[in-house]
Symmetry: C2
Subunit: 140 residues, 2 copies
């Protein structure tokens, strides 16, 4: 099993970031504007990227302002069953966001593509918090 | 041993990208403006990020418009001996840049930080090619 690991500091509070991870409106502002479903524990969130990708995540863990965890229930084959974790902790007046996308069965080109893509969208989340505007995938 | 793997498409030719990887002036425009040394095969390039980081790479491989490879000779301990590879290939009218930073002894927080950081600077390289301006680390 392979794991994407990324981390970055965000100049914002844990609660501000947690909100963008746990509301449909927030997720639309940094990942994809085609986000639907429910962010409640045990429920399912659907993320679409045009016709190309449809990712469905089940919310399997949520600790207020500290942790959000999803398990993938629909997507390209390599993603099914993988687990995405956002961990938030205070560090030196900022929030350290530690991200993992774990249980990958492969470590090839698709892994490399998704690694870059996650980094891009985590930077989008940071811009949303720090300057008020993210760079989500957008289809009008 | 662990390996950072990232890849992205760049709307530019292999030769344009190769130039930004193999000239001091090019490297200054997307990674750090504090870049000095020689990009010739067998020579050493020094990358500085203020007082905090000094990375020295030996150029160990270079195939015109296709591949650039460095081995780290000075940096934080985890980087010493690691190998950075930029592989360029034509794909669907764009250039597919496949990046690896291999032979990491650890897979912890510093790995996660560097993974995000490499992604950020590869996106900077893409912006340099596509819109003419990158986002390197800058100290005036």
């Amino acid at each position: 099993m392979h794991c994407i690991k990324l981390q970055l500091h965000v100049d914002g509070s844990q609660s501000e970031i947690y909100k963008q991870l746990t509301t449909i409106d927030g997720l639309r502002k940094w990942w994809t504007n085609q986000t639907t479903g429910s962010t409640e524990l045990g429920e399912f969130i659907d993320f679409r990227f045009g016709e190309r990708y449809h990712i469905q995540m089940k919310v399997i863990n949520a600790e207020q302002n500290n942790l959000v965890q999803w398990q993938c229930t629909h997507a390209d084959e390599d993603w099914i069953g993988t687990v995405v974790t956002f961990n938030l902790q205070e560090n030196d007046g900022k929030t350290l966001l530690k991200f993992t996308h774990d249980r990958w069965p492969t470590h090839g080109d698709f892994f490399a593509h998704c690694n870059l893509s996650w980094a891009k969208y985590l930077l989008s989340l940071r811009e949303l918090i720090e300057i008020g505007v993210g760079k989500p995938f957008i289809i009008n």
